[in-house]
Symmetry: C2
Subunit: 311 residues, 2 copies
């Protein structure tokens, strides 16, 4: 990497990017230009730090690119919006293999392309700590954003996507195992139901969030912002055989993954009672007057999520 | 910082931010919402790494906030656009004083406010390396972006703002001095002529860039993108007494600061010959057929800029 220098590496990486339909001006100038037909732009930033949010020995550069993009694109979807662009700041040790950075760029670009967005710009610097800061932009397409603050007593809580799979994969990997594949792959490349964000918006979702820090922790943000109580129904969640078997083998309560694990980026939204939910959404709880998040009516005593300063 | 945890610190920092007119939804949800009345959004990301782009013993957190914001807002101005918003990812060692992070937020917010923009979102993580990644957004107000690629033979090269001051301040600080104040302050808080970006655009600038890596290096980007030769006129630049005296005292050619120093974020633009330039702009060179950047017709043998991987 030191061999190429900043500009050499930027050239190598940007050569791999393809501009999507919303990219009006891509990398190479002082700034990029992105379509914002709504007249408002949705924007979110997430940073991933080596050894904390990812480990290079747990997945390829490509996997990590997919994960970094997914974490950001999911935030746009959770507003009920359509992702349009990513900007990426990469800080890397001078001895980082340039091929790894190229793989990372491929992963970022592929994940963005999967939702019609593209990597439109970024920056690079040497740093002792490999760090990936991603900003995602999105468009509202004339809709109103779905906030965390709109849940109302009587609403139903529903979820699109998976939860607990990536958390289980994280535990498996951290114990030194590489299987079951279902769980490890879920950690390496989250499968995010991006399209369901705008769909929930059009269906009248009253609040929405993506599950990145842990189901109960993230629902706590909705409960607090909306000043409501949320009760989660434990039986509403899938507990596939691989997860149950891994939990038994590792001596873990599998519901600590489902209720406390992050990184799958499922979308959780509240809807007025009686809304006909499409097949991608399942009811997983209810909204009531009060405060806080309970599981089948009781406080959950297990791990409640992930604090990037404390863990 | 570890004491507050990620969410505690985010709450402390976001409490200090004020929303500007373009901020439709600020920090606290999955994403922010920013006005983009043009229907296109300008976006740029820059990352600053401790010990490489800033030193905590060379300026306050507030200074570093101003510098980080300026580096990004200048990129928006250099497109001939109006800055609207900043998003900030802060990676910090767990022992970082939370008050320092608050000062940083103040500096970022103040610099953004000075151009009518605001800090609308961000992220935080612990990291061994203090890192600040900033994304700036901007609006074109119906104008077309001024690219690096539009300079034409016969154009005049003009500059708004200062060059060499921050570079001189950097040398002064790196030699252990804290004066002259003019130079040290220029390094700590660049004075960026943001408003001149859109003004140059309306005047018909054919190309534009902000000087962040060094005058000749950055003009090299214009020369290359526009396939022209640029000749810089050395006598067109201010060489104030403090800079001349500091250069003599430190045994430095002051023109290495002016021609090779970055971080003042002056705006350089090319204009069709005959354009009446406002007082904020001075002609500093000419555009000709050919390639490369010269100084008074000759190659410059001094330092040519700043490569963040090599320096």
């Amino acid at each position: 990497m030191a061999q190429d220098g900043e500009f050499g590496l930027i050239a190598r990486v940007t050569a791999r990017l393809t501009a999507g339909p919303t990219c009006l001006l891509g990398p190479g100038d002082d700034a990029a230009l992105v379509a914002a037909p709504d007249g408002r732009v949705v924007a979110s930033t997430d940073v991933l730090v080596d050894g904390r949010h990812f480990r290079r020995d747990w997945g390829s550069g490509n996997d990590i690119g997919h994960r970094a993009a997914a974490a950001n694109l999911a935030d746009i979807a959770a507003m009920g919006a359509y992702p349009t662009a990513l900007l990426v700041a990469l800080c890397a040790p001078p001895d980082l293999d340039a091929a790894w950075a190229e793989e990372l760029a491929d992963g970022l670009s592929e994940e963005a392309e999967s939702v019609g967005a593209s990597v439109v710009g970024g920056d690079m610097s040497a740093s002792p700590t490999l760090t990936i800061a991603v900003t995602a932009l999105g468009d509202m397409h004339g809709l109103q954003p779905v906030l965390r603050s709109g849940a109302r007593p009587g609403d139903v809580l529903a979820m699109a996507g998976r939860v607990g799979f990536a958390g289980a994969g994280y535990t498996v990997l951290s114990r030194g195992f590489r299987t079951p594949k279902l769980l490890v792959d879920a950690y390496r490349r989250p499968q995010v139901p991006y399209q369901q964000g705008p769909i929930a918006n059009r269906l009248g979702a009253t609040s929405m969030i993506d599950i990145s820090d842990g189901l109960l922790a993230d629902l706590g943000h909705i409960a607090k912002a909306s000043r409501v109580a949320i009760d989660v129904h434990r039986d509403a969640f899938d507990l596939p055989d691989q997860m149950r078997d891994a939990a038994t083998a590792l001596g873990v309560d599998p519901y600590s993954w489902i209720l406390g694990g992050g990184d799958d980026h499922a979308l959780c939204a509240t809807f007025p009672a009686g809304v006909a939910l499409p097949a991608e959404w399942r009811q997983v709880g209810t909204v009531r007057e009060g405060a806080g998040v309970t599981v089948d009516g009781d406080a959950w005593e297990g791990r409640l999520g992930w604090d990037h300063f404390k863990s």
